[in-house]
């Protein structure tokens, strides 16, 4: 057997998943071929590479992050504890049956109907119609996002935020809904996801100013830390006075204060 033929079998040989006859062929080849047998030897030696240990501070940092997260969650307003239970397929049906959900999927069916109709009517539909359909589909997607962001169940809202990131371009209405979510959503998860989605659109001036403003309003340490990190990532020097103000708040979580100090240093 030649090296090229062995090359196809070698990865499976290394994984130990060759059939007995193939195994015999490969082993016979390896006895004669220095290059291939060296590759196998190197593969085996890779397991001898030293395992590095992360520093002990790593565990401490993780604990602090987890604590901040748990604290943030227990600060959530009451009346929402059952949102987790809703995170099931049932909630999707529930949503589809709600008036907004119904509007969204009727629009979806209508758009699909028009689309299929045009497709069937002629092999090459004129492009203006296609453009109209395209924009209708985009509008529909926005409608879905907007209605999902208003759902009772946190997981549906989370899904809405995720949907909003599917489009490169953000519709102004969706943008303002996301900004609203960032500031007022009762769930920490949803606020964090909204920040994540918004961070892609830092070119929009409202996005940056909203993140700065949210800094003063947010109570959850986890969201505060995420906001601070975002500002550092943008190198937003204008945020510095706001960070100074934040770190002087009397009952600020120590981790957040530390993070703010770090950020002020970074922005200098």
């Amino acid at each position: 057997m030649k090296c090229e033929q062995i090359a196809e079998l070698l990865p499976d040989y290394l994984e130990g998943s060759l059939a007995p006859d193939q195994l015999r062929d490969v082993e016979a080849h390896l006895e004669q071929c220095a290059d291939c047998s060296e590759e196998v030897a190197l593969w085996k030696k890779l397991s001898l590479l030293p395992v590095e240990q992360p520093s002990t501070a790593s565990r401490v940092r993780f604990e602090a992050m987890l604590q901040a997260y748990q604290a943030g969650r227990s600060n959530q307003p009451a009346g929402n504890p059952e949102w987790k239970k809703r995170a099931s397929t049932a909630s999707v049906f529930h949503w589809l049956r709600s008036p907004l959900g119904a509007a969204a999927w009727s629009a979806a069916l209508l758009a699909i109907g028009i689309f299929t109709g045009l497709r069937l009517a002629g092999p090459k539909p004129p492009s203006p119609d296609m453009a109209a359909i395209q924009s209708e589909l985009t509008n529909m997607k926005q409608l879905v996002v907007l209605s999902m962001l208003q759902q009772q169940s946190a997981s549906a809202r989370l899904e809405g935020v995720t949907w909003s990131t599917r489009d490169q371009h953000l519709d102004p209405q969706v943008l303002s809904a996301l900004l609203h979510t960032l500031r007022y959503d009762p769930s920490v998860d949803v606020r964090l996801a909204a920040l994540d989605a918004l961070s892609r659109h830092s070119a929009q001036p409202q996005v940056r100013s909203s993140v700065v403003n949210a800094l003063q309003e947010q109570q959850s340490p986890l969201v505060q830390v995420a906001l601070i990190d975002q500002l550092v990532e943008w190198h937003d020097r204008e945020a510095k006075p706001h960070l100074e103000k934040l770190r002087q708040s009397p009952d600020l979580n120590p981790t957040v204060r530390q993070r703010a100090d770090w950020a002020i240093g970074k922005l200098n």
């Binding site: 070698l10 590759e39 190197l42 030696k45 890779l46 240990q53 987890l66 748990q70 964090l192 994540d196």
Partner: protein, 201 residues
């Protein structure tokens, strides 16, 4: 409880038992740290990325579906975290072999030297080749899992592993020849060690 499969622990985390994430952190922080440090050569960054992975797990825990192999899921997050990081902060320095950790003395001096050279050879590979070798050899992911992770066919994974190994052999050779030359300069001509290639497997 400690021996519960990763998937069961993750489902508990998803359903609100955030403190159970500590179990997964203990299981995965060292492998993930090594994945990053061997890929980037930067310890501090690797620790930051490990933290980022666990923060993302908390943030997106609702998206974990029962039946998803946890290992593949966490490595997906880990890869994305690294990609996002370098997208936001284009790298200032490349992997320098000088940043490699010391090799713990092995059974013999020769073996120790070989492992050191192997580590350098690995650091010289292009990042995608280094990554695939780390994923299958060091992180012990199955080929199917890697195919899903990289979004390619199973056969492509096999080909890529083989190409990476070929390149590893070449750069290992260059290094062994370099060391052999150095030794030849400092030792008697008769003491030049044989070329590293043709050993028995």
């Amino acid at each position: 409880m400690t021996f519960a499969p990763d998937e069961d622990v993750m489902l508990q985390v998803r359903d609100g038992a955030g403190e159970m994430l500590g179990v997964l952190f203990d299981r995965y922080q060292t492998p993930l740290f090594n994945f990053y440090s061997k890929l980037t050569g930067d310890r501090t960054l690797s620790e930051d990325l490990v933290q980022e992975v666990f923060l993302r797990i908390l943030k997106y825990r609702q998206s974990y579906r029962p039946g998803t192999p946890f290992r593949a899921w966490i490595y997906q997050i880990a890869r994305n975290a690294r990609i996002d990081h370098f997208r936001k902060f284009p790298r200032e320095r490349v992997f320098e072999p000088e940043m490699l950790p010391p090799v713990i003395p092995a059974d013999s001096a020769q073996e120790q030297q070989e492992v050191e050279l192997l580590q350098r050879a690995l650091a010289l590979l292009p990042e995608d080749k280094r990554e695939i070798l780390l994923l299958c050899r060091f992180q012990e992911l199955k080929y199917e899992e890697i195919a899903e992770l990289l979004g390619c066919q199973l056969n492509t994974v096999r080909t890529r592993i083989h190409r990476a190994l070929q390149e590893l052999r070449k750069s290992f050779h260059q290094l062994t020849q370099g060391t052999a030359l150095k030794r030849a300069n400092s030792a008697a001509p008769g003491n030049i060690p044989p070329r590293g290639g043709c050993r028995e497997v």
